[in-house]
Symmetry: D2
Subunit: 290 residues, 4 copies
């Protein structure tokens, strides 16, 4: 799983109804467009006639120049002949990722640091927080920081309008790095890009607020974290990645939070990496992760 | 964690309200009764005045003879002076464990095999199943097998009465090795010994029937198993042990069940071992596991 | 990962030097032979010109009848045009697995149980042990048991000759389930099928005898197990699967052995399953596991 | 495991030859010095007469004032009567930790972040690096940064002399956060405080340079990290903590290094926390971790 962008490499995602001959057609298409397949993953959820998913990374010299004719070929071959959905991404162009954060900085700083190391194939045009505490840290990474306070009360339309102003058209996906605010369905519609959240429990256990406190009350022996796409239903979106660690009766709720922070940042960073590399395909409320 | 019984060793469990001087009193008591402390574990859930829990294993030559005078000293010192609850177990005497099973045999056979290897410090006076499929396997381990069919319909009083006849007075604890029947509060009262269950999910996620099917539907990336004491509330009793393993989008519900069986038998065997060694103390809906 | 055999399904393994067009040629070949691809995995260890590995499972009605013409097409297309190695397995035919065991029975019984549950797509024509202790257990699973005592001293040619008599031509692979005898290069040559071993350490740590004792001496905080193909170099063959579990200073070497047994049987069962499903390709001293 | 310093709390470590009555004497001592035991852990490596280890945290109002008389009592009771070694630490005083680093900054920054979050009960009087690349990052945490270039060639006495000048008397322990230089026995003697290293493999596998490259060559299915006390023998000191993660044939050596960095910083941070909390007792080449 190389993390960096790659010149003259493309990632093709295909999904739709399975039918015989897709791989043959697809590989022939890439071959006749001077592409050489580097990785090929596919999954169909039933032997025949179910849903089909495919991810192909291929190398093609001067890819940027050839995009229009490759796309025309894809539309003809996969779209018309096979009635499949597809998308083609240029792997030399990093996705633009916005991070929304709040007071807790462990997930935010972890993403910024991984990005600086070259481990995340994204650009970060902005970090937005409803608090100002992380401004200096964020800017020390050379990343713009914007402060958008959360509107008090249940109606978040004012603060969400400010978010939309900053985000719309400027980013390819949004990461909620312990943002702790519920985004309205209207916001999700308006922003029009995938939003990835980290929830500090092993979903579907402990949905909603204060999962570590609930975990302590229930007396569980493991705690976890879940990264998922955000939908209109709180903590119900398609899960990208999860993990757990062992705890004991002696760990207080505060200790669970301290130890859980490590799981959160690891789970979120994997979900972000896989999304950035086009490894995650949404299918209803599920994800296929190649 | 030695698994076998030990001659002339005792396990003392103490719990109650924390107060200064408990350890000093306890260790003096063991010393003046010719005991030598082998392991000592304690936990108090608050700095002062909270709940206090302690487990001491000590060696005492000719322990069996000295039990009455040690118990009198415990009653005087811990009971009267400190108002603590205590129990004293002779570690040369294995606990008597009944196993209740159904068609699925993976947890049942795993316990029988671990017992034969000498890894569980228990005796197994009986296995009871509501099916006959495992009779030969059970008897090949030299363990008596009884068939008690489950009464059809919601009223289980007839089959539970037969279970009580077999179990009452004959066992120290009961293990539900994927027994798949809900035991009534009346049964739990009547049998009067701890009952340990294995649930095939990471509780509190996927309470109730068909957790692997629910896990597949939710699209989780880990599945788990939970061993807990049975109470009147289904899947809500104090958790003893849990674990999880990684799964993917490509695993069917049947595949989750196949792979989860490994986690179930491991989690259950650890819970049973720890219970048999008096390592687990119940405290409300929680457990302290030393 | 379905564990059972599948009628009219074939598994094709391809490996050799990577070159453009392999997938197109391969998928066209399967299509023109009335096959429908069910799973497709590939890996190349370099962008271009490196080693190429591919595993395709396809469904083909009346596969058994079509084998000769499919093999002829493979020889022509993959062999002559692309200079690749290939092998074609009928997934309705389980591989024949022999188990060699000694006194310790945890890995042996675990494999027999999994097989009886339908979790391993193999047949088990024989178990051979250099001790007689497991004879009754093995036969209770309906599996033939043979006793071949190990020749005392370093020269094992006599006992190995007896093993060859039993095994040659009768099995497709051999599993050493804690067999504890070193097999000579001559034996490996003569038997001519893959041999899978389980070593009770995280290789390359603690090669050779008594790894748990060595682990205790070194004071490690994790112990592990490794399943690998056997070669002439002790514990140096290609690794198929490994895993570890956490231990503490309080665990004796005997306790490490007791707890490690769980890791051993899990690691070995996964390696056996993957081998039986043709998921493992050897490449020098490495394995590709699809 | 509370991470912060605690006023009026002390941590007492005791070790030596086990004999009957230690706990009674110890708890009586703490009681007569107005202490109340908060946590109590003990371990003896043999039933009787082996090595004995004990860690007691107790609360004592105005502890700082009482230190001389408590130490006198300890010397009398534990030292003279029982011939045990002991040390008493004031938990309101954080240990002074120096970090030595090189170009790779993941372990260094992780420790600085955890410290700023309040998760490590230490003070950090200095970071020393043989490169200047991390100077700004370190100083942005308010921590002094010193540059001590490594003397070229095998004789490191010049650079080590400079390190000693900075460190001697100013720190309670030293962390090598991927420092990549071998420290001489003379340096270890002169500096006179514990030195904790992080090695990027699961020791004793892959001792020495380039463990990820060696892991790739051997084809392991897990990689790991090990934190240990530094001794004169390279990578042979007492292990404090280890962990592993799963990798595949598709991961390059560079990818192993990228993913292993996460394990390294987690393992090191746990080892540092446990050392700072006096949870780790060295015993020959082993550690007892309470």
């Amino acid at each position: 799983m190389p993390a960096n962008t790659q010149s003259d490499h493309a990632c093709l995602i295909v999904h739709g109804s399975d039918k015989p001959g897709i791989i043959a057609a697809l590989s022939a298409l890439i071959a006749r467009n001077q592409g050489n397949i580097v990785t090929f993953d596919q999954y169909s959820d039933d032997a025949e006639g179910g849903a089909y998913f495919c991810r192909v990374v291929f190398h093609r010299p001067n890819f940027a120049v050839a995009v229009p004719e490759i796309e025309a070929d894809l539309a003809r071959t996969l779209g018309e002949e096979f009635d499949l959905n597809w998308s083609l991404a240029d792997r030399s162009v990093p996705k633009r990722m916005a991070i929304l954060a709040s007071k807790q900085d462990h997930c935010l700083l972890d993403l910024l640091w991984r990005h600086r190391r070259g481990d995340l194939p994204v650009s970060i045009p902005m970090v937005i927080s409803n608090h100002t505490t992380s401004a200096d840290d964020v800017r020390s990474f050379g990343v713009p920081f914007f402060h958008v306070p959360s509107t008090p009360g249940p109606d978040k339309s004012e603060s969400e309008a400010k978010l939309i102003e900053l985000l719309a058209g400027n980013v390819d996906f949004i990461v909620l790095a312990r943002y702790m605010q519920i985004l309205s369905p209207e916001f999700l519609d308006a922003v029009g890009v995938p939003v990835i959240n980290i929830h500090h429990s092993f979903l579907p256990a402990f949905i909603g607020a204060e999962p570590y406190k609930k975990a302590k009350q229930r007396g569980v022996k493991l705690i976890g974290a879940t990264s998922h796409y955000v939908t209109g239903d709180l903590d119900e979106g398609p899960i990208i990645e999860q993990d757990t660690i062992r705890v004991t009766h002696a760990d207080s709720a505060a200790e669970l939070a301290r130890r859980g922070a490590d799981v959160e940042r690891q789970v979120l960073s994997r979900a972000v990496l896989w999304h950035a590399e086009d490894r995650v395909i949404r299918h209803g409320n599920h994800t296929i992760v190649f």
